[in-house]
């Protein structure tokens, strides 16, 4: 039988749900031609994400192996390996929990709403509400500006950091090219250099920012080295950027298209449920990779030690065994135990930030406008790993 897993086809990238359905119904634990297992059922996805027999770090192992086998071409790619290795998302217990706790302790969320609202003031003042492109004018810059300010970096640096972050997020692509790895290497070097300078400035003039607090905390802790600290500032930036931009772009698109962007969303609990449902219905992060540490049997299928496993979050979140009318957007869905942010010890630690950015934007636009139109159908970014829009032309009209 021909494999339904064709993540390289444009039609599947633009709309992966029919492919997911074919896999989930016919071969939910599928062995891909490229060697990895593809998981599409909700229960299996959740089991693997919570199972300590599966670890993270596949791409790090892979880059390390590559740097040994292709030493002559590899030159200094160990720079990327070292940085990625420090990223919280690629760490396994026990040091994962130490590092995660270290970041959580320093991260004070109290001032974040104010930061987001001030950023929205700036961005919304610069659009023509009757004809604007949501993605470059709000969805993309809002998360970058917000993380720049949370970390306490100069706000004018956000477009630069956003550009570097775009290069690094390619590490999630299913099929990389040599050129992309080169770009990632350059971006890593620039990021490290940038954050070293910023950290030095914070040591001179400490403030209330996350970067300052992380530095302060590292003085009294042996758990986290300074290079890990820098790598994780960089990680926070990369992981909050494209994913949140995706939530904002896809979220508003689906709300408007389904005539659901209405004053009903003024109610906090209605809005919260709607945001959860948008995360389930079209999840920003579509694929997560795990690697089996030992032989594991999942639903009668043996996965061997060392095998990579690709978990399709977007497929799990549309599993009809778990969600009634899974292919429909039901904005008051309850309960809604989607796994758009993953599950288990690596569940996203910035979920509240992504939701707050989208939530505050929604509050602002339903307060100021009442008619919302899509001027023309969006242009999609042709990536399966993170589903997001390149362009979405909208028109908002007043009350």
């Amino acid at each position: 039988m021909e494999s339904p897993w064709k993540p390289y086809l444009r039609e599947n990238i633009l709309n992966p749900y029919p492919m997911y359905k074919a896999l989930r119904e016919n071969d939910p634990i599928h062995k891909a031609r490229s060697g990895e297992w593809i998981i599409t059922r909700y229960e299996d996805a959740r089991t693997i994400l919570k199972d300590e027999k599966f670890s993270v770090g596949n791409r790090v192992d892979w880059l390390t192996k590559a740097s040994h086998q292709y030493l002559d071409k590899w030159e200094s790619f160990s720079i990327i390996v070292n940085a990625l290795q420090s990223f919280l998302v690629f760490r396994n217990p026990p040091d994962h929990s130490l590092l995660r706790r270290f970041i959580m302790q320093a991260w004070d969320s109290r001032d974040v709403n104010q930061i987001i609202n001030e950023n929205l003031d700036v961005l919304l003042a610069n659009i023509d509400p009757q004809d604007f492109d949501l993605i470059p004018s709000i969805a993309a810059p809002l998360p970058a500006m917000t993380m720049t300010r949370i970390l306490g970096l100069p706000l004018e640096d956000y477009p630069y950091l956003e550009r570097l972050s775009h290069k690094m997020i390619q590490s999630l692509d299913l099929y990389l090219t040599f050129r992309q790895i080169k770009e990632m290497e350059e971006a890593t070097l620039e990021f490290i250099d940038y954050f070293k300078k910023q950290a030095a400035a914070k040591i001179q003039n400490p403030d209330n920012s996350l970067l300052s607090k992380l530095i302060e905390q590292s003085k009294t802790s042996n758990d986290v080295s300074s290079s890990e600290l820098i790598a994780n500032c960089f990680f926070l930036f990369i992981s909050s950027e494209e994913t949140t931009a995706s939530l904002i772009g896809l979220g508003l698109y689906h709300l408007i298209k389904n005539d659901a962007l209405t004053s009903n969303l003024n109610d906090n609990s209605v809005r919260t449920a709607a945001i959860e449902e948008l995360l389930r219905y079209d999840s920003p992060l579509q694929l997560i990779v795990r690697i089996a540490k030992e032989d594991v049997t999942i639903e009668n299928t043996q996965i061997n030690a060392g095998d990579p496993v690709t978990i399709c979050l977007g497929a799990a979140n549309r599993d009809p065994q778990k969600f009634e009318k899974a292919n429909e957007l039901t904005i008051n869905r309850s309960p809604n135990h989607h796994i758009a942010f993953g599950s288990g010890i690596h569940r996203c630690l910035g979920d509240w930030l992504a939701k707050a950015e989208f939530d505050l934007l929604l509050q602002r636009i339903i307060k100021d406008y009442s008619k919302f139109n899509i001027i023309h159908e969006p242009i999609w970014k042709e990536k399966l790993s993170i589903r997001s829009l390149e362009s979405l032309k909208l028109s908002f009209k007043g009350k």
């Binding site: 390289y8 031609r33 490229s34 060697g35 590559a66 071409k73 099929y175 990389l176 090219t177 040599f178």
Partner: protein, 80 residues
Amino acid sequence: MKDIADFLTVKIAEAIGSAANEINPDEEFISLGLDSMHAIFLIDEIEKQFDIEINPHSFWEYPTINTFSENLEKQVRSKS
């Protein structure tokens, strides 16, 4: 096509440490022992040798030496 297929066979033989004449051009890359990391370097080498641009997906879409080089040949011809 012969050129690309021959070149690819030699490079694959180097990567997996066997002799070029032992490699079956109709066997899938994965069962020859190649993975996504090999794909990156093999594609890079073919791109440089033949001065073409290759979509990294095609390595898994056309997963044997013969199908891969046939597809590339088509691509080259349609451009010229």
